[in-house]
Amino acid sequence: MIVVELGKLFRRRRTWLTIALLNLLPTIVAVLLAVTGIAPRPGQGPAFLSAVVANGSLFAIAALAIVLPLFLPISVAVVAGEAVAGESQAGTLRYLLIRPVGRTRLLVAKLVASTAYVLVSVLTVAAVGFVVGRLTLGNAPLSQSMVSVSGTLLTPGQIAWRTVLAIAFITFSMLGVAAMALFLSTLTDSPQTATLGALAFLIGSSLLLTIDAARPLQPYLPTRYWLTFVDLYRDPLLLSGVERGVGLQAVYVAVLLGAAWANFATKDITS
């Protein structure tokens, strides 16, 4: 069942088109930076973007920071929002469930497919960002140390495992979006409604993060810790924000997937 769902997802042209579009914006940014040499002023623009002009390899991380606030969650919400509601809209959900397949197993398969999409998207953005960054913004030897956010030098080995941690953290953060879209996907027959619902939830969270009056709520907002992956490039390593982010996302994922399971397992399937 899982293999079937993965095959369906990655055989779709739309999936790869979404991933290509996801990579388009960082590529445009890298080319513009290379052509003009004008980086954002310190403290402005996405994380690491003011530093990539000096080190093209950093663009892998900058590319993730560019797509993380909006484009990555949109693509994840589109794919996960379609998981159940798309089958329902196409009238194929009934036929899927006629097979000797339990609803919980089908939901797990959809969840695994969404997770795989998140992982492939994040890895692709990092890889394309790395290649584009080195091609356009400078290809210093890979054995060269990188300056950490704190001004000390990180060895290539340290950079590698910290980047693996950053990719894992961003992937896990996106699972919260996938879980929300998947839950909404079990509530409606319209994939667009599920996607927009998940995005409304995230936009609301991002908005509340900018309002001081909402401060007591902020530690519990799903987008609160997304950008703390930057802490993985500080020296000494700062893990408290990342740990809080992982804990918060784990709660959202558990509760939303639980709700998706409770609803889908008891739902009347009419289409």
């Binding site: 973007l49 530093a51 300056v147 956010v149 401060r215 930057v230 802490d231």
Partner: protein, 371 residues
Amino acid sequence: MGGVIRSWRWPVVVGSALTIAAVPLVLRVLPVGGEHDDAAALLQRIVAARGAAYSGYAESTGALALPVGDEFNDVSTLLGGRTELRVWWRDDDEWRVDTLDPGGERSLRVSPSGSWSWDFEDNRATRAADAPAGTVRLPRADDGLPPALAARLLSGATDAQASMLAARRVAGRAADGLRIRPQDPQSSIDRLDVWADRESGIPVSVEVYGRGESRAAMSTTFLDFAPGRPPEAAISFTPPPSARVRISSRFDLVDAIARFSPAQPPDVLRGYPRQDPLAGTRGVGLYGSGVTQLAVAGLPGRRARSLDRQLQLAAGSHAVPAGTAVDVGPLALLLTRPDRSGIQWLLTGTMTPAGLSEAADELLHGQGAPS
């Protein structure tokens, strides 16, 4: 049977969600226990812990919207916004404080031989000579740390002003609470709430309230905290090869006023003796201690006129007989009209508006001696 199986799913999910949501709430209201009941002893403990070593991660929040331009951006953010700080404090002469931004970091590392400041996004390292304690300077990120803020504001506190507050968990550790209510009628601070780590006595959370305000004008608290001496390696710094390295002269606007002000503030103002000025900083006068502090400087005409225009446009600005005043919570600013020698005095501090006006009157009536 199927209906029974179906019926338990939603209650299980909703129950689990409510349980998870309740955990932080329960941890917050859970009594800490083993509280001190002697405010004077706790005050002594906090004072004794001054300069003790620690490390941690703190968040400071100010509600003071300062009417200042871009050149004082760091100060206005510190006093009027949220600042995330990471600190390693070996002793008062050797420490590191990082100001964390979502995409970067500004770090200040101080050692007996001098200081390094590092700005990641600007790729710039700046070396500065050691600044003697008591040097007149603008507020910096490290001033917003709970131990530093408590040390500054508790410097004149007495046992009679102290009372106990309920203990709290701060950064997951038991912390005893102390409230200081100043009895100085000229102070604009209504109360100061300090929670000190039970194990070390180091202040881990501080809230400052202005008179008549229910919301803290400034609060700072540790989210992670560990008493004990951090390793030297966490503080040492060598500029990375690609960085732009500068040698700072430490010469900013405050230095300029301190050194070249056309007048010297008086030795006594509103009954407060002037703190001993360091050599070369006689142009700025500092008065008071603890929760009542006042800084005074004489400004030359062109600078004063520019500041006057800025203050008149600021929210909360109003004319007083002595000049133009701005009240920003418990922090008050007043720029006098020119005195007989053409000098305009800038007064700022934690004094009531009435106290500040009276101090301005005292200056205008010739107490400040032209240098």
